[in-house]
Amino acid sequence: MAIAASEFIDQLGKLLGDTEVLSEAEDLIPYSFDGTAALKQKPWCVVFPRSTDEVAACVQLAAKHQVSIVTRGSGTGLSGGSVPLTGSMVLCLVKLDRIIEVDAENLTLRAQCGVITKEIDDAAAKHGLFYPPDPGSMKISTIGGNVAENSGGLRGLKYGVTRDYVMGMTVVLPSGEVVWLGNKCVKDVAGYSLKDLFVGSEGTLGIITEVLLKLLPRPMARRTMLAMYDTMEEAAETVSAIIAAKIIPCTLEFLDQMTLKCVEDYSKIGLPTDVAALLLMETDGHPAAVEDEANRMLDIAKKHGAREVKMAKDDAEGARLAAARRNAFSALARMKPTTILEDVTVPRSELVKMVRFIRETAEKHKLLIGTFGHMGDGNLHPTFLTNEKDTEEMHRVEIALGEIVDKTLELGGTVTGEHGVGLAKKAFLRQQFGEGSYQLLRTIKFALDPQKLLNPGKIFD
């Protein structure tokens, strides 16, 4: 960057108004991290544009002066995606927070990127519609962040992930040019599916300022139940058996004993803490189908060793259980000062092996690992409970982490199912991709962003 900080900040102030540009230490320190452990770096400045045009103007100014840009939603990312680099401008998009349209005829919703995920579903619900992706962070994550990370949620098994709901978007390119990609059509094969290029691009290819989302009719009924197990393997076997029985429940979430204890300690809703594993299962849809599926799932769980299966008595109780599960990750932080969360995902048939391997790895390296995750998706979150100040233990964590990654790849899995590569998984990407596909990633990035202005150093160097 060739321009002096004060000069650049002055010019930003002229574009957005002085109150929308932050540059004091007390303002910047709170933007030096996201939800990822042990990553911290102060930006140069933080700006709050309020429209696509303002975003484009900021990008043009930054491009002119070669200032790198880190896009940020609510900063709940778990791979360090919105952790800034020194000398970068944080483009914080939380003030682009308008829902523009709910189209009940075409079942679509159009919103600015800073709208909170839960508000999208609330707005859909007012029309009897449904926006299924529900990441644990949905009360605060932004839809732009969800699209940029291709976030999953608790309902992924039946309803898929964010990508499955993105029909179109407005993107500001690294040059500052604005493009619209996609439309309201159910079918569309005109040209490459460019919108898909930006889903999961982690702020490295363009800035998504508006999204057009697909909605579904809201399911008429749902049943939630809890199955309790003495071993983690039995829980994993139940999941495989349910899927083999051709049932696709919306939710099959897993929590181990350590996670259960922490979640119960916080939410106090009467979760059992003396079991090795718990499955939170939910089916939704037509009332008759829901009833039938719920009963069959209950039978399968019992057959596979569930000590007890409890049905939620009503929707409110079901919602409370799901809400408690959403707190799992943060609740684990009750145990130790540092919480390092993994995101390994394997084909569902390999779940039992993976779960067992994680447990053995924890024992071998004498580490505390709490595991929970979206078992129906084969997506596990083994979480190391440690202390970043204890260098000796952190060393063991690193070794264990490497072993878990190796095993995941050996089982045909991926190092990240939903949190993205960012900074946290960068080191493992080449190993997973292999040389050819890794180079393809770089080719795409540098074709779109030759000046390397957008989120440099994320995904790869």
Binding site: A25, E26, I29, P30, A37, F48, N327, S330, A333, T339
Partner: protein, 440 residues
């Protein structure tokens, strides 16, 4: 330079600072963050600034001190935080450091702090005398006259803006309404003490009377010393921990804790502080043990009534419909949420409608409405709109600060169907009284 080794933030057990894993789950519950959408105005942003100071990455600046006073101390973040971050400890330490480093300058601010924290709220008799003067001034119609003649123009701007919010002093203070010992007419099942509070005593002594009546009706003998000290919450929250400790010791000296089944508080803000004397005095060789015993006996009135299985009234309370606003320090500080609602729903004929965002701060927040009038007014407006949406005729709360704030809020919306502010104990006491006058 302000970075002295004695700062509480530096001496704090570091794991308290590390406990925040910056997940952001607290953000949507923080009124200041939701207003500005800026991280420094959020719980995790504030904690990151505190940590930066502890880590010597940043000096304690005036801007940091301002931030700590922009925080409402409403503790909504504590309820929301799954990781169990002890925000109370962090926030009180940060404010104390802000004060001891004197970054906010001197002048009028110092004078008002000295007058309130070190003089008035340390000396209960003096505070009451001031209350008496104010009462006389209000009763003689002088207040009305001064306002009419615009004599308030001689006050500095800030005070002038606040003057209309001066609370109406009660006709009698608690000691004029409550005997030092009152016994139930029927069998005596418990012996409890009542803490009359400071503002509560001067402005809402009738609520203290109602509290005693409700306790008597439930078999409690009530001990109410006529002169009581401030609980020290004002000092604890405003960066004066040494004074908070001194007041806690005086409070402990006032009671023979062993002879009591419970120590009752009816002000959410005081209760939240009163339950933590053990922690406050943990390093005090003489008082630590008694303080821990004290903590176990302090009960919020609603908590106590539900615990002892209070008698359900058989008459109504004269109020038809109500909605309940939760005091932050009752619901977030003490986690008491269902009990006041149980009391309200026990009253025959009273229709209770849930208030949207019932646990969102009303902007009173101790002396926040004085120190941060703008943000306070925004919160009050939001609150009053929600109250109005319930169509209830009365809004019920359980903290003197909230009570006064809501009274002022409703004045600004005369077209609303809600005209009255009351408290659960008052409605319950009213219902009990109606049993006698018109037995079913």
């Amino acid at each position: 330079m302000a970075a002295n080794k004695n700062m509480l933030l530096k001496k704090l057990d570091y794991s308290i600072l590390q406990q925040c894993m910056h997940c952001g789950m607290c953000l949507p519950t923080c009124p200041t963050y939701m207003e500005t959408k800026r991280e420094r105005n959020s719980p995790r942003g504030r904690i990151s600034l505190m940590r930066a100071i502890a880590d010597d990455e940043m000096e304690l600046s005036a801007s940091f001190a301002d931030e700590m006073y922009y925080c409402l101390g409403c503790l909504a973040c504590v309820t929301a935080c799954p990781a169990g971050v002890d925000y109370v400890e962090l926030f009180e330490s940060a404010r104390a450091d802000a004060e001891s480093s004197e970054v906010q300058g001197h002048g009028m601010r110092d004078f008002w702090r000295w007058l309130t924290l070190e003089v008035l709220f340390m000396r209960p008799r003096l505070l009451r005398s001031l209350g008496m003067v104010l009462r006389w001034y209000q009763q003689m119609g002088l207040e009305h006259m001064v306002r009419k003649l615009k004599l308030t123009m001689i006050l500095p701007k800030k005070l002038r803006d606040l003057e209309p919010q001066t609370p109406q002093m009660a006709r009698s203070f608690s000691n004029e309404l409550i005997d030092e010992i009152e016994s139930p007419t029927g069998s005596k099942k418990y012996r409890v003490a009542l803490l009359t509070g400071c503002v509560q005593d001067l402005v809402f002594s009738n609520i203290n009377r109602d509290t005693v009546d409700v306790l008597l009706a439930n078999g409690c003998e009530v001990v109410t010393p006529s002169v009581q000290y401030c609980c020290g919450s004002l000092h604890g929250h405003n960066g004066a921990p040494h004074l908070a400790r001194e007041l806690a010791r005086r409070q402990l000296d006032m009671f023979d804790v062993g002879s009591l089944d419970a120590i009752i508080t009816n002000a959410g803000g005081c209760g939240s502080h009163l339950k933590h004397y053990g922690h406050l005095l943990q390093d005090d060789a003489v008082y630590a043990g008694r303080a821990a015993q004290w903590d176990a006996k302090v009960k919020d009135i609603h908590e106590w009534l539900v615990e002892i299985g209070f008698r359900k009234p058989t008459s109504g309370c004269g109020t038809v419909s109500a909605t309940y606003h939760e005091s932050c320090h009752l619901c977030h500080g003490q986690k008491i949420t269902s009990q006041p609602r149980s009391i309200l729903s026990s009253i025959p004929g009273l229709k209770v409608t849930e208030l949207p965002e019932s646990n969102w701060c009303c902007g009173s927040a101790g002396i926040y409405n004085i120190t941060q009038p703008e943000q306070s007014a925004k919160l009050l407006k939001r609150k009053v709109e929600h109250i109005d949406s319930t169509s209830a005729e009365t809004v019920v709360t359980s903290n003197p600060g909230c009570h006064m704030q809501l009274v002022n809020g409703l004045l600004s919306k005369p077209e609303s169907s809600c005209h009255k502010v009351s408290q659960p104990v008052t409605l319950l006491a009213e219902a009990y009284r109606n049993e006698v006058s018109s037995p079913l």
